[in-house]
């Protein structure tokens, strides 16, 4: 099945990002297609390379980047990003900044849009 995932909350502060990641890993293991992952609201902070978590903690941005390297389209909302000072220069590899039109296409094209937030 073609799935899309929408994430509203920033990393570490809220469990949403972890739940989404665990859900996506399970979906991939079952052979589902991830049509896209869209970061909105404070979710845009998930993919900045400026984060430096303690070594014994998970590195949330790198986890997303690794999923992006598998060919999953990971999109950061440009309007939400600009408002919060997130620009191309600070993003980890394999993610991109684009508009809400991308979220629209995910909502239309994916058979299920699964949202994680507060």
């Amino acid at each position: 099945m073609k799935l899309a995932v929408l994430i509203y909350e920033g990393p570490y502060n809220h469990e949403a990002s972890d739940s989404a990641y665990n859900f996506i890993q399970a979906a991939l293991a079952k052979g589902h297609e991830i049509r896209g992952i869209f970061f909105y609201h404070d979710g845009v902070y998930n993919v900045t390379k400026l984060m430096e978590p303690p070594q014994d903690d998970r590195h949330i941005a790198n986890r997303w980047s690794e999923l992006g390297a598998k060919g999953i389209d990971i999109v950061v909302c440009i309007a939400a990003a600009k408002r919060r000072g997130i620009v191309d220069d600070v993003l980890v590899p394999n993610v991109r900044i684009s508009g809400l039109g991308q979220l629209t296409m995910m909502a239309i094209e994916a058979e299920r849009l699964v949202s994680f937030g507060d």
């Binding site: 609201h41 039109g101 909502a107 239309i108």
Partner: protein
């Protein structure tokens, strides 16, 4: 597939202004309205306060969105509903709701339509996807 227009619903459950959810949620609605989708918006729980007339955010120094919600119909978003029980629990009536545009033919002001939870639940079950803000 041509003619296969997807039903997309937005639910708004959070009160306005305490967080950015309602404001940025509105931005999504306006963009999505430009695409080929059958859009509906349902305000429930504290979300009904986003549809209350007389919001003035000037003293907060934030832009507010009453003016934009006031022209939803111009964006061709006219399936706008509020949950009756959420309204009643908060002592709100249809007269407290803001105008979201005017009827194309009669030019009468259009307000969100108040419906029961059973109707909302039935509408939810018909959707292709639902986004909650």
């Amino acid at each position: 597939m041509a003619g296969d227009v997807k039903k997309i619903m937005f639910t708004v459950r959070k009160p306005p202004h305490g967080s950015i959810y309602v404001y940025e949620g509105l931005e999504v609605k306006l963009i999505m309205a430009a695409y080929d989708a059958d859009i509906s918006v349902v305000f429930l729980d504290d979300g009904v306060y986003a549809m209350k007339a007389g919001q003035d955010t000037s003293k907060l120094g934030i832009k507010g969105f009453e003016k934009t919600y006031g022209v939803l119909v111009d964006y061709e978003i006219s399936k706008v509903f509020v949950d009756r029980q959420s309204m009643e629990e908060r002592g709100l009536t249809e007269e407290d709701l803001l105008v979201i545009g005017e009827d194309e033919e009669t030019e009468e002001p259009v307000r969100p339509k108040m419906i029961d939870s059973a109707e909302i639940a039935a509408m939810m079950a018909e959707q292709h996807n639902i986004l909650c803000f």
